[in-house]
């Protein structure tokens, strides 16, 4: 039950909910825990609620860091 997964906000509804999309699957979730959600942003979704926004720059930074690890050095 501790599952949480990033999804993109595709539509914001009046009742503090939003439709999010994950790999083509759309689901309506609560935005009650999020300040100012916006279409196009990614949020972490857990048991039908968005928990936090996802920061694309930080996501890139993490991946870049991983990619920068030097396998040749490692293989040594």
């Amino acid at each position: 039950m501790c599952l949480a997964i990033p999804a993109r906000v595709v539509e914001i509804h009046a009742d503090d909910t939003a439709t999010v999309s994950l790999g083509g699957v759309r689901k309506q979730v609560s935005m009650a825990l999020i300040e100012d959600p916006a279409v196009g942003e990614y949020v972490i979704v857990h048991v039908g609620y968005a928990l936090s926004k996802l920061d694309p720059a930080e996501a890139e930074r993490t991946l870049a860091l991983l990619a920068s690890l030097d396998p040749t050095e490692a293989a040594a």
């Binding site: 039950m1 501790c2 599952l3 949480a4 997964i5 990033p6 993109r8 994950l22 790999g23 609560s30 009650a32 825990l33 999020i34 300040e35 990614y42 972490i44 857990h46 048991v47 039908g48 609620y49 928990l51 936090s52 926004k53 996802l54 920061d55 694309p56 930080e58 996501a59 930074r61 993490t62 991946l63 860091l65 991983l66 990619a67 690890l69 030097d70 396998p71 050095e73 490692a74 293989a75 040594a76």
Partner: protein
């Protein structure tokens, strides 16, 4: 799936694995506890152990809310569900957890209790609105990740004046559990559990931030890396811990920076604070009774508190003697150390809570990893 698939990339995994292999000190054991059952699950599902050097040992922690709930609290839920006027809404994971006398919510349901599996508290609210003639109780469990979602439901129920809805609250606190581990005799005295550092639960930290761990790192001199849940996140967190350990550091680092800040989600924290307050003490399976380690519903929401509405009383029940869940939750044992793992105790007929939720160590090992133990034994 953006922000998922990238963090499962096999080629990048090889790089990280190579880096870890290169950076570990061959003469040293790195004993790392992943606190969270979500991490345990990901480790087993993706086969991460196969990619780590033998000297990096992952110790599974108590961070599974299904696993740590003691039998007595489950029995309260079963008792509630059996009341003819009650519809109990629960996360599916709880259905098979064994209670007293081998009872379970699944069996109570088969015997006629009205029990519905829900995806979250929002669905329970919907059930209550659609069934005005029923007393709908949401069986709320979870760490800080889940607590705010229960808080939202309670605030909404109060705003709607929805009198046939209530919550049986069992929310528990991550820092209390970490402290219990660090203060346990196995860690402090006997040394039978070695925890050199922690992989911190990233989803918890989306809410509470990384700040609450600062004092553990400082006071107990253990590095902590708050980690995401994809396999590359975990591998990277291991690498970060190895580096801290190699360098003799013990700070809190944030691997899951794309979703976690130091302060966490203020809006969620405010909601939790509005609805919940500290419970004087709470019994955890495996960790014992810990003061200030769980939450209860505040007076202002008393009308939506199932414990008050039905005057539920907690009666402690001893765990099944054959079951080693308590030791597993403290990191003292691994699933295969339990004498009934995979024989008497299976996911179909669980004897302990750790065999139920996919985040329980025994279940994760049974589902994904038991060939490994068989190989070792053979």
């Amino acid at each position: 799936m953006k922000y998922v698939d990238e963090y499962r990339d096999g080629a990048l995994a090889e790089r990280v694995a190579a880096a870890i292999a290169a950076e570990v000190d061959p003469g040293r054991i790195y004993s790392i506890m992943e606190f969270c059952g979500g991490h345990t699950h990901a480790i087993c599902r993706h086969g991460i152990e196969d990619m780590l050097p033998a000297t990096v040992r992952l110790v599974h922690g108590p961070g599974c809310p299904v696993c740590v709930l003691p039998i007595g609290r489950l029995d309260m839920a079963i008792e509630l569900a059996r009341r003819p006027e009650v519809t109990l809404c629960t996360y599916g994971d709880m259905m098979r957890v064994p209670g007293r006398d081998r009872g379970s919510l699944m069996k109570a349901k088969a015997e006629g209790a009205d029990i519905r599996m829900v995806y979250g508290s929002g669905d329970a609210l919907r059930v209550a609105r659609e069934n005005p003639g029923r007393e709908v109780v949401f069986f709320a469990i979870g760490f800080e990740t889940t607590t705010p979602t229960t808080a939202v439901a309670l605030v909404q129920a109060k705003a709607l004046g929805l009198r046939n809805f209530s919550v049986f609250a069992n929310h528990v606190l991550t820092p209390s559990a970490i402290q219990a581990i660090l203060d346990s005799p196995e860690v402090t005295t006997t040394g039978s559990v070695r925890v050199d550092g922690f992989i911190g639960p990233g989803h918890v930290s989306t809410i509470i931030g990384s700040a609450p761990y600062d004092r553990f790192a400082r006071d107990y001199r253990r590095p902590i890396v708050v980690s995401g849940f994809e396999p590359l996140d975990i591998m990277q967190s291991v690498l970060m811990l190895v580096r801290q350990l190699n360098e003799g550091r013990h700070g809190v680092e944030n691997q899951f920076s794309r979703a976690v800040s130091h302060g966490g989600n203020a809006k969620a924290q405010a909601l939790v604070d509005q609805v919940f307050e500290l419970r004087d003490s709470f019994e955890w399976r495996g960790l014992g009774t810990i003061p200030d380690s769980a939450l209860q519903i505040r007076e202002g929401f008393a009308d939506w508190d199932a414990e008050r509405r039905w005057q539920l009383r907690y009666v402690p029940v001893a765990d099944n003697k054959a079951c080693s869940c308590a030791e597993i939750l403290r990191g003292v044992k691994k699933p295969a150390d339990c004498t009934i793992f995979g024989t008497v105790c299976t996911p179909e007929n669980p004897m302990g809570s750790c065999m139920v939720s996919p985040e329980g160590s025994c279940a994760a090992y049974h589902l994904y990893g038991r060939w490994r133990d068989m190989e070792k034994r053979a």
